[in-house]
């Protein structure tokens, strides 16, 4: 016999109370001399003995009733032949956990893995009795409890299952055991069972972490755990990436995107067609002759932009087995035109090189959508800078506080600033300006100009500090010798601010060459070297135009162009306080979610905590305002739908106490085998109540008849004998 609430057995100590009361009562015998002993004759003496016996019987009945009550409250459970005589009922507390990650949508034929999971859930439900406790949870990145510790009702259970749909999320397996253990702990059941129905993806289960194994073992201590695999084939094609590679995100320009298609299956995929859509219109199609099993192929998709504004771009393949990861989405913020204003304090040499690098044309001719204007310092526009997207300051000695304030506002509104060092730069003046402003304009405090040449007088080459940064990614395609040709002879020493990070540095762990930090919705890049050839030969190599063009492309982008994953938070940031208190997010399924706007670090941010769908969300400052699309993709980590074999799964689960039920027959057998514990608390409770009633009746019969005359005597002044 085991107990569901064994701590309550401490209540058995309460048995001491009636016994103690009895003993105290006996100890408190009062004595008196008595003359009329002839009237306390034999019959009364016999009666007194009977009373003592009845008292003892009543005491025994009270003690037994109390003991039975304590046992009932402790919820006893019995197993085995020894307790077969004890009336009881088989009661189960069942947690059914269905893997709701998007890999469960994979289908080999007509039915998906999720459909199969639902069938198994119904099968388990059919083996429950009305009144059994049941929890139904849909697992994913976050776990949704559909039924929580509810008394099993077939109709309610069926209704709850009707609403179950797989999610586009990735399964967070690490958190599953603890979540299930919490649900198990909530159950006040004698026989606790957990049924985990999952496709047992190889990537999740092949190499389980130590904490996961430990929590599985812990879960096994709390309940009997069954793992029910609903595996299928590994065949799946997915578009795992869609990246902007080159070109300009402006009107009448063409951008090149790179789509990556992965074949997660075990057989080669041939003639894979990738379609590129912009705003739902198919604009490019590519065909990959063959993708080997487990391999990926990339294709370039050329996207022309005919007008300005945010553009929804998607790359899509056709794969019937799992549709949710067939599409990868991205948003491009296409500008009407891109204007760069360059202030040059070096006398014109640097600005010329910068303009040449930005236009990347031998003639330096501009087109309508892209203008680069150079101005010799100290000329500075009196009016607004709104006409420009990027401002470049090269070798500018110093700026006034007013100019600094204007540039700060310019950046925070979502524009960008590129700063180059040079001979004319007065570091002290720039540093003083930074100290005067609460938010520094530049990402570093400036120091002395230093010589970076080695003993032989050769400058140090360049090395990307962040290889995955949008600026350094194109440099990776350059031949190594070409990159190493870029030599830096001098640079200005810097002390980076807390919010900045180096993008490029001198080779060999040298000091940073390019630093970046964010200001509001804009960015500031700081080169610790000059733009002209005085301090380096960068402008003479392909590195310089590539860097400059990437900088402008990167800086003229928007933060919401970066695609998010399902489960990520979506943000909408404002520089100025919006009129409406709530921002609006429209989901891909055209639902509207209002989100309050909160002030955060000198800007206003609306935060949607979770994106639950894959597709294009639209963020609006208000219901009527034009929306800004945000691409939300599924995490391609879940696209590897290959499942563990039964043998491998058994090895993985070895020592965890978790049993595998491969099909309904095995599941049925295990349920019958495990559900042998019977709950007898009702029997004990009824027995205790019967004893209490019997004791009350007996006490009433013994005491009531005898005490009634005493009540009449209670009016006597000698109510209490002394």
């Amino acid at each position: 016999m085991t107990f569901l609430n064994p701590l309550l057995l401490i209540g058995a100590l309460g048995l001491a109370l009636p016994i103690l009361a009895h003993l105290i009562n006996r100890q408190q015998v009062q004595r008196t001399d008595w003359a009329a002993m002839q009237f306390l004759n034999r019959s009364i003496r016999v009666r007194s003995r009977q009373i003592r016996l009845r008292d003892l019987l009543l005491l025994l009945m009270r003690c037994l009733a109390l003991l039975l009550l304590v046992i009932a409250l402790a919820r006893p459970a019995t197993t085995g032949e020894g307790f077969a005589w004890l009336p009881g009922e088989t009661r189960a507390g069942v947690v059914i956990a269905i893997d709701g990650s998007f890999s469960m949508q994979h289908r080999d034929g007509d039915a998906s893995r999720f459909d199969r999971a639902l069938e198994l859930t119904r099968f388990i439900g059919e083996r429950l009795q009305p009144g059994d406790l049941v929890s139904l949870v849909l697992l994913g990145g976050t776990h949704r409890v559909v039924l929580r510790n509810a008394a099993y009702d077939p109709a309610r259970f069926a209704k709850a299952m009707e609403d179950l749909q797989p999610t586009p999320q990735v399964l967070d397996l690490e958190s599953v055991p603890k979540h299930l253990a919490a649900l198990v702990d909530e159950m006040d059941a004698i026989q606790k069972e957990v049924y985990l129905i999952s496709d047992i993806q190889t990537r999740h289960w092949e190499r389980t972490s130590v904490p996961l194994r430990e929590s599985l073992v812990q879960l096994g201590h709390s309940a009997k755990v069954f793992l029910i695999p609903v595996s299928g084939s590994a065949e799946n094609l997915a578009v795992t990436d869609l990246d902007f590679v080159s070109g300009f995100l402006r009107k009448d320009a063409v951008a090149r995107y790179r789509a990556t298609v992965n074949n997660f299956g075990e057989s080669p995929a041939s003639e894979v067609e990738i379609r590129c859509r912009v705003e739902g219109v198919q604009i490019d199609t590519k065909r990959i002759p063959m993708i080997a099993p487990g391999q990926s192929e990339t294709v370039s998709l050329f996207v022309p932009f005919y007008n300005a504004g945010p553009k929804r771009i998607s790359a899509e393949v056709t794969d019937a087995s799992l549709a949710v990861d067939n599409v990868c989405r991205v948003v491009a913020s296409v500008r009407e035109r891109v204007s760069v204003l360059c202030f040059d304090g070096s006398g014109g040499d640097a600005s010329r090189l910068i303009k040449a690098g930005l236009l990347a044309r031998p003639t330096g001719a501009e087109d309508e959508g892209y203008s680069v204007r150079t101005v010799q310092w100290p000329a500075f526009p009196v009016g607004s800078l709104d006409a420009f997207d990027v401002i470049v300051l090269t070798d500018v000695p110093e700026i006034t506080a007013e100019q600094a304030k204007k540039l700060l506002q310019f950046v925070r509104q979502g524009n960008s600033l590129v700063w180059f060092a040079g001979e004319s730069v007065k570091a002290a003046a720039w540093n003083k300006l930074a100290e005067e402003n609460s938010v520094p304009l530049l990402p570093a405090k400036l120091g002395q100009t230093v010589d970076t040449r080695d003993e032989l007088g050769v400058g140090k080459p360049l090395a990307p500090t962040l290889p995955d940064h949008a600026l350094t990614r194109p440099l990776a395609s350059l031949p190594e010798d070409l990159l190493s040709e870029t030599r830096f002879l001098r640079q200005i020493q810097v002390e980076p601010t807390d919010s900045s990070f180096p993008v490029l540095s001198l080779a060999g762990g040298g000091s940073p060459v390019l630093l970046e930090h964010s200001l509001g919705r804009g960015h500031v890049f700081l080169f610790t070297t000059s733009a002209n050839n005085d301090w380096n030969n960068m402008a003479l190599t392909p590195v310089f135009p590539m860097l400059m063009q990437q900088i402008v492309t990167h800086l003229t982008g928007r933060e919401f162009e970066q695609p998010r994953f399902v489960g990520d938070a979506l943000t909408l940031a404002y520089v100025d306080q919006p009129d409406a208190n709530d921002a609006v997010f429209e989901t891909p399924s055209e639902q509207t979610i209002a989100v309050p706007v909160r002030s955060h670090r000198n800007q206003y941010v609306a935060l949607l905590e979770r994106a639950d769908e894959a597709g294009f969300y639209t963020a609006k400052v208000s219901v009527q305002a034009p929306g800004m699309p945000i691409a939300v993709n599924v995490d391609s980590k879940e696209s590897d739908v290959s499942c563990l074999t039964a043998t491998a799964l058994s090895q993985v689960l070895q020592g965890t106490g978790i049993e595998v039920a491969a099909n309904e027959v095995e599941l049925d057998a295990r349920i019958n085998m495990v559900r042998t514990r019977r709950s007898s608390w009702r029997f004990f409770l009824v027995a205790a109540l019967c004893l209490l009633i019997g004791e009350s009746l007996l006490a009433d019969r013994v005491l009531g008849r005898k005490t009634s005359p005493a009540k009449t005597a209670s009016s006597s002044p000698t109510g209490e004998a002394t």
Binding site: N25, R26, Q28, V29, Q30, R31, T32, D33, W34, A35, A36, M37, Q38, F39, L40, N41, S43, I44, R45, R47, S48, I51, V702, L703, K706, T707, P709, A710, A713, S716, T718, G719, E720, A721, T722
Partner: protein
């Protein structure tokens, strides 16, 4: 009660004053030997003929004047009247059972007060008072005398009583009856916790000897109501086996047996021409005496009126 008794403490002047008003012996007009202003309480036992009256049921058969019957064919009973100085003998039960008292005054103490008070009243009437104390045997016997000094002897004797258990009462009453030389009023103060037949055997002996017997059945209020609650051990005062029990549970049985005994005793006294009065020791002594004398006066008056008709 106890406060009252302490205040009285034998023959306090306040109580004597109250008792002066009671007119205890207003029964028949028999003056005492010394004073002769009171009617003797021994009416019916005098040898001096007074007059006849027609027989009424209840009159003693031996008092029927058969010669008058022979002449008139009617029953007449002879009434005697004697101006006599009567004797009163007070018998006090000094057995161990009398030492019980639920409050500060035991039955024996109460009996002492009662006896002293009665003696004083009788002596004040210039009648004679005798005293006897008994338990398992007769412990003391003072023949009747009319001196107030007797009260001092009474007081000393009462103080000297050492309670002893007794099993019977008849033998002691028989012995006392043999000691008494003259018919008198015999007042027996006792709890009479003995077999009714045994008690009546002794009392009848006194009665048959021509004594006018008055029984003052002295009981503690707890013995009358048995108010015990909870677990009690009752230790018998007369060497009975102790009993431990719960008072409230046996109360009904106790009271049933006790009341049966009392009714039997009271009925037996009535049947033997013995006056019976219940004295509850919780009651004030003067109240008890006052009530007793009023009842007695009323009863005697009724008999006299009946006698004249």
């Amino acid at each position: 009660m106890s406060e009252h008794l302490n205040r009285v403490h034998y023959l306090k002047p306040e109580m004597l004053h109250q008792l002066d008003d009671l007119e205890m012996i207003a029964r028949e007009v028999v003056e005492g030997l010394r004073v002769g202003s009171h009617r003797s309480p021994l009416r019916g036992f005098s040898t001096e003929f007074s007059h006849h009256r027609q027989y009424a049921p209840g009159d003693a058969i031996r008092d029927i004047d058969w010669r008058v019957y022979g002449r008139t064919s009617r029953y007449y009973t002879k009434l005697y009247e004697a101006e006599t100085n009567y004797d009163c003998t007070i018998l006090i039960d000094g057995s161990a059972s009398m030492t019980y008292g639920s409050a500060t005054v035991s039955k024996l103490e109460y009996a002492k007060y009662l006896a002293a008070s009665l003696a004083y009243i009788v002596l004040k009437q210039r009648d004679s008072v005798g005293l006897s104390v008994f338990d398992s045997e007769v412990r003391a016997y003072l023949p009747p005398r009319s001196s107030m000094n007797l009260l001092v002897q009474l007081d000393r004797l009462l103080h000297e009583i050492k309670s002893e258990p007794r099993t019977t009462i008849a033998k002691q009453l028989h012995d006392i009856a043999l000691m008494m030389k003259r018919r008198s009023v015999v007042v027996v103060i006792s709890d009479f916790f003995a077999d009714v037949n045994d008690i009546m055997s002794g009392l009848d002996h006194l009665r048959h000897d021509g004594h006018n017997v008055i029984v003052l059945h002295t009981l503690d209020p707890y013995e009358l109501s048995f108010p015990f609650k909870g677990t009690w051990q009752f230790d018998g005062l007369e060497q009975e086996e102790p009993l431990t029990t719960q008072g409230e549970r046996i109360r009904e049985d106790y009271l049933r047996q006790f009341n049966r005994y009392r009714e039997a005793f009271q009925t037996a006294c009535g049947g033997s021409g013995i006056e019976y009065a219940l004295v509850e020791t919780s009651r004030p002594l003067d109240g008890v005496l006052s009530e007793f004398f009023h009842q007695r006066e009323a009863m005697l008056s009724g008999s006299a009126i009946g006698g004249r008709t």
